[in-house]
């Protein structure tokens, strides 16, 4: 962390208000996976007419870029436990393979579940959706279990 971390009781509620804004302005469920899908599907159709979700993804990227500019660099260096564990000449290759595979699981899994940490976890639970509650419990328990397992193995 190269800067003072935004207190959770400020950052959390601002994200919550983003969900409310999306609903109040255009009656949509805020979800970052929906944003990725919009961009992928629009580009795959050889068009550039992105919808509000596609523009939200560009905003996410732009907001993070602006933050890095103001903070004087990215938020972290290396890549956590992966760069700590896999060192040497083959290390980078192994990490790239692991992150690529993780990305596939994240993309496929969230599409099947109809939402990610924001779509199901944040928005869906705020909508009091039973499906989102089950999805959230599932990915939190799985994420915790997988993290504990990798921590035990390294």
């Amino acid at each position: 962390m190269l800067h003072s971390q935004l207190p959770w009781f400020i950052g959390g509620p601002i994200l919550g208000l983003c969900v409310v804004a999306m609903r109040w302005l255009m009656n949509e469920r805020l979800g970052v996976m929906g944003a990725w899908s919009d961009v992928v599907h629009t580009v795959a159709a050889r068009r550039l007419s992105f919808g509000p979700f596609g523009w939200m993804l560009f905003g996410l990227i732009a907001g993070a870029a602006a933050f890095a500019l103001v903070a004087g660099g990215p938020d972290f260096h290396g890549y956590g436990w992966l760069t700590d564990t896999f060192t040497g000449p083959n290390g980078t290759l192994i990490i790239v393979a692991i992150l690529l595979a993780s990305g596939v699981l994240i993309g496929l899994g969230t599409k099947i579940a109809g939402g990610c940490t924001s779509g199901n976890g944040l928005s869906g639970n705020a909508m009091a959706s039973p499906a989102s509650l089950v999805a959230t419990m599932t990915f939190f328990v799985t994420g915790i279990a997988v993290t504990l397992i990798t921590e035990a193995l390294i």
Partner: protein, 160 residues
């Protein structure tokens, strides 16, 4: 409609700054949370859900029309299905290993973190793979019983 696109962009910028400033972009912060070494992840997530829950509850009670599109502000929820568990299991594995989910993957790219590139490529491949599975399940529903966790396009739209 241009207004909704501008609104999407602005909401994305706010979201991106918060995901960066809070440290959610960093796999270290996510991992410390999932290992229960730090309470920040859970407090942050809880604060976000609570605020959104109260905000949406107030919004639903007032039942206004959406400010930009004019449509009634309303939504429906669905009961849990197998796909919500199966999909979140698959997602949870990727999340636990990489310490990243779709929002932070975007903010890693924005911050210029090169490790975000392979994760992004994988994410896009995952979407493409899902589209293929969905198309196949649609084309031959009776021959693909194993793909029954793949939601139909209609169900995927109303997935909350």
């Amino acid at each position: 409609m241009a207004g909704t696109r501008v609104a999407g962009l602005v909401i994305g910028i706010v979201f991106g700054v918060v995901l960066s400033w809070s440290g959610m972009t960093s796999p270290n912060v996510i991992r410390e949370g999932l290992l229960f070494q730090s309470s920040y992840l859970f407090l942050f997530f809880g604060g976000a859900v609570t605020t959104a829950f109260v905000g949406l509850w107030l919004l639903r009670r007032r039942a206004p029309r959406a400010l930009l599109t004019g449509e009634p502000v309303q939504w429906e929820t669905i009961k849990p299905e197998r796909r919500h568990i199966a999909g979140s299991l698959i997602f949870g594995i990727g999340w636990g290993v990489s310490g990243a989910c779709p929002g932070p993957i975007a903010t890693q790219l924005g911050q210029g973190i090169a490790w975000g590139i392979p994760t992004t490529v994988g994410l896009v491949l995952g979407i493409v793979l899902f589209d293929r599975l969905q198309a196949r399940a649609q084309a031959a529903p009776k021959r693909a019983p194993a793909a029954s966790v793949i939601p139909s396009p209609v169900a995927a739209d109303a997935s909350a």
